[in-house]
Symmetry: C2
DNA sequence: TGCTTTAATGACCTGAAAGTCATTTACTAG
DNA sequence: CTAGTAAATGACTTTCAGGTCATTAAAGCA
């Protein structure tokens, strides 16, 4: 019987991150309620009791996962979109919008980010304060930044009038829909939508308009 | 001590519907996993054991809720949008699309429908066959119908080229986003988006284009 | 009015998973 | 080398909700 080394190591610094990583996998696969702490512990290579050295409850672990995964994604999207609050002009809106959507598509292409988004939607009612954090720190700032940029474009006469906030929904809604579609129907639909393609085509459609300006097909004109 | 009548009544026909109704309320409030059958039973005015006379398991009850609530909503949307599979021409796409979005907004304005949608998104991983049913019977048909209508409009030269399916995402994504926003942030955001407003403004924006064609604001032109 | 049927009950059973803690053992300071 | 510390363990406790079933009683019928 070979005893290669100590049965376990003391790794106070590395443990929490590993636990969060493992928790993300298990939560994403089964959802919050159906995820078992034993599974998470096993995947993290620790005993269940060890989880409680770093997280008080299952919910605390869940919240740590959300914060850990999402915070970088949010700042990355805003950075890629290059939407500074009060910065200098950063190009015409017709160029900013596709950049923003492309950046969002890239961020949401990571299944980890998309899975967290799906889980928050599913669990918001179970954890009202999670919904509050998400609203105040993620969705709110993102929506406000986009709406502010749209309002600037409206002031410059670039963009059609209307509620900037609603325009923001117009802009990013399809991407959210495609993301959720991929998450919900993974394994059911063999041909899920491609986020980059949706982002590109939607940017084009929304900016330029879906309707073609009465280009007669040279054939169906009523003969008079 | 007044004994007004029998302790309970036999109502084989009315029970299931009442149970589904109560179950919807409790599921919508707490999510599937956190919903207690005792609560559902109490709200339905029956004992827990009675639930098992009509539904084999908690999951069966959940599925009954989904089917009961969604089926009418789906057919109503398609009816309001007046998108027959092979029917006669039903007006230019520029008129059909707003009608479709308005109908969808109306259907999704019922919190019951929206709550079910949110729950399916949240629970799809826990119940893979629920995701399959939802895909095959709800989302798939709806998306296909809309995409088919868009393809017809493209063939007629009304609509810009591009994947019809992606165009369908462009069309309905913002409404889904607004619906989920309302569901997730109910109680957190005091000023949620109005679905009818989002539908109307988005239809306008998407069809006509968000970008204004270089209308000089008569003031900021560089003076040369 | 009594008999049969079966809808309905609710106390109970049971499995499962969150959370605890006395014990073990890796590490470190002296 | 030794003693002190605290990271880590995993068997145990506790809680709780899904599911069962022997019993009750409402309704239909002769």
């Amino acid at each position: 019987m070979n005893e290669a080394g100590p049965r376990w190591r003391r790794r106070k610094e590395a443990r929490p991150a590993e636990m969060i990583e493992a928790a993300l996998d298990v939560f994403a696969e089964h959802g919050f309620a159906a995820a078992k702490l034993d599974d998470i512990a096993r995947r993290a290579g620790v005993a269940k009791g060890s989880l409680y050295l770093y997280f008080d409850t299952k919910e605390a672990l869940f919240r740590a996962v959300v914060e850990q995964i999402i915070a970088p994604a949010v700042s990355r999207v805003l950075a890629m979109a290059q939407i500074p609050e009060e910065g200098p002009q950063n190009g015409p809106f017709a160029e900013v919008a596709p950049r923003l959507l492309a950046g969002a598509a890239l961020a949401l292409s990571q299944d980890r980010v998309a899975a967290v988004a799906r889980m928050v939607i599913g669990e918001a009612r179970t954890f009202p304060d999670l919904a509050r954090v998400w609203h105040d720190q993620v969705v709110g700032p993102l929506l406000s930044a986009v709406a502010a940029r749209i309002a600037r474009a409206q002031a410059a006469g670039e963009v059609r009038p209307g509620s900037p906030r609603t325009h923001a929904f117009s802009l990013v809604g399809p991407l959210l829909m495609a993301t959720l579609y991929r998450q919900v129907f993974a394994g059911v639909d063999a041909d899920p939508p491609d986020l980059a393609q949706v982002a590109a085509q939607h940017a084009q459609s929304l900016l330029q308009g879906l309707i073609l300006p009465a280009t007669p097909p040279a054939k169906e004109l009523p003969d008079d």
